[in-house]
Subunit: 126 residues, 2 copies
Amino acid sequence: MPKRVKQPAADNVRLRFRVFCGKDIALGPGKAQLLKLVREKGSIRQAAIQMKMSYMRAWGLIRTMNHCFREPLVESVRGGSLHGGAKLTSTGISVLKLYEQMEKESMTATEKTRRELAALLNRDTR
Amino acid sequence: MPKRVKQPAADNVRLRFRVFCGKDIALGPGKAQLLKLVREKGSIRQAAIQMKMSYMRAWGLIRTMNHCFREPLVESVRGGSLHGGAKLTSTGISVLKLYEQMEKESMTATEKTRRELAALLNRDTR
């Protein structure tokens, strides 16, 4: 019965939150993932490697986030260049926590509806 | 006090649901909008014009939806070509309703968190 091995139907429905500041995206799934990795690895360079992006790209995303929020989300741990170590500021920790909370709240609130929707999908393609 | 005229802070946070069928997107904001317009206008052509896309593009999106769900979401009203009139099937009506319900549930469940997140945005950019 190979069909039973497939992922639960509600996994067919995915959501994405984007926080805008003017025309820029202050925060979305990619930037949230980058924040998580900086928190975990204490390094923008290591976070960039993990996400298969260049250091310059990661730094550009962080610069946008730092600019969009009231206070920077990421800071250097050695006072100097962010090339060394980096960590989330208290604002960075709060912002990431709120983003993750928002995702969880949404997934919980929509669980029944997501299942109903997924149940209408063609069995052979879902 | 021009800053007070700006949109409420929580509007800075937008969400998008996508329903996947394999690698295809069965339903997302664009396809949901197309379904709404077919429901409203009774015509794929008119819906396409409204969305500033070609008839062929609109028809391609509908073909994907019709294939991804157990039953077609859009059908011809004259039995012949969809170039004539078109309407949502009962499955189409259900799917669109569930999609809209999912968006509302999510927005309601995350309202407080969205406001808290938006409050951390830089006042000059949000």
